[in-house]
Amino acid sequence: MSSGNRAPQELLKVAMPKGRIYKQASRLFREAGLLIQDDLEDTRKLIIEVPDAGMEFIMAKPVDVPTYVEYGVADIGVVGKDVLMEENKDVYELLDLGIAPCRMSVIGLPDWKPVMNPRVATKYPNVASQYFRERGQQVEVIKLNGSIELAPLIGLADRIVDMVETGQTLRDNGLVEMEPMFGVTSRLIANRVSYRMKNERIQSLCDRLQVTLSARV
């Protein structure tokens, strides 16, 4: 499955999310037969050539991955559905990689009761506004950048919208998951132009990943 002896060609630029998702994504890519060294993340370099896989990794902050891909500075990228929903960029969403599974949920204190002027704190203001609007509820959305769980505890908001993986943080802080909104996994996305100009390579990568994914299940 190696692509090492192929004629030299332009590297496929891949925006990879640093951190948690990177480990799982690179493992999946390796399972699909791509030759990716496993110590890549230890380097501090932001652009890493992976010539044996015909790729160049752009190590990005996860929320920036769709932006790099939309502008075409990366051909494809790996990013969570949560970020895709929030950023709403014009990119192809090609494949559900099934990695880093969790869910977006509405969370609150166990004794939550409807309030007159509901306030919802979240890292995902677009997702939250849209969710409540679709349900005919007008809420004030407060954007926070971290430790969202604090908001209901100290009275900044009566509910929060956030990602839930194991639910441990919620339990530790005495919060409960009130409504799961949607499931989140990481996706393979592609730039509109790259998807056409480098169609064969992107399609073959998709196919290999898909085979690997169905073997995993």
Binding site: E70, K89, V91, L94, D96, V193, M197
Partner: protein, 429 residues
Amino acid sequence: MSKPKVFEKPVGVKDYLPLAVTKLRQIERSVLDCMEGWGYEQIITPTLEYYDTVGVASSTSDQRLFKLLNNRGTTLVLRSDMTAPIARVVASLLRGHEFPLRLSYHASVFRAFENEAGRDAEFFQTGVELVGDSSAEADAEVIALAIASLQSAGVKRFRIAVGHVGFLNGLLEELLPGRESDQSKLKDYLLNRDHVGYRDELKRLGLAEAVQRELEGLLRLRGGREVCEQAIELSSNETARQSIAHLRQVWDALEAYGVSAHVLIDLTMIGDFSYYTGMTFEGYASDLGFPVVAGGRYDNLLQQFGRPAPATGFAIKTTRVLELVGEESEPQRRILIGYDSAGRRRALAEARRLRESGATVVTAQLEAPGFHHGDAPATSGERLPATVGGERLDRKAHRLSDGESVRYGGQVYGVFLSFFEGNEKGAGL
């Protein structure tokens, strides 16, 4: 928002400096020449249109139109594309004109507030409309012309993806008869380029396995003419089959044009359904993250202006082509003529003569500030043009030797002529 600073301009609009303008004009001229060579005649329409006519008919969504009120309180729009204004003209001023009509344009269009991803609020479009011909030949002609236009603009590596809205409509109607909301959900996923959502929706619909596989297979229907053969197997629906037959004819015509190597058929490529009615296409250039061309068939637009007619066309985003072919251009041959008050009459006469022969000539009274001799990087060792010859002139002309140049007003000149007649001292630079 705080008061704008003096250097600021509204989000999404751009200034073009001389170098960029030179290049932009070159692109514009070569593309318009190319279109003219195919018999398309250029048309100019106003920047302002009524919201209720052109605004409503255009494919731009309401919140992306720039709207303003005139002094009578009527809502106007800044044109968001040229297709709707041209439809208006075709149905009114050109009503008596027989079809087919071949029209071209180069104009700036306006789309409100998209402050991200290289989307400008004002940008240049160069395009054509072929009105009154519903044939596959007409569709092939505009695609072939789009290819020729890109080439003439200097775009080297590009690809055109061609689809057809009818195929998907027909296929979905056949496989999900009467389930309109499910159909439109699936189409929305494709329109948003969300293949994951499309597949998930298919699973949710609980279709027969064969049907599900067929609809999933749609995502892979890309390639050359063979795609048509595969697609025609998929559906017995009349609309779908006609669409494929049409695409096949388009492909064959493109082959005859000798351009099918640039073309890729992609049946998931569907434009805005409320607007496009048949073939749609998009052009992509490598090294540019966004499409440079978009077009297709819009047979329902003209009837909104009271003259029902089929039509097809495309627009090149000229501003993006500019990014692609860069802004560097040949240094111009510029001539500087310096004079004093006594030499002015002869200097200006000479300038006129040179300008008539096509030269770029700047004249200046030498006492003017900003003039330095040879303190700029040399542009060329250009000699005086032969046409300038003549004994009398030669004596007065300051010939620059190789590598010498003069600088005036921040510009570098390789040719300098002087007309000093009042005071011989003035000639000593």
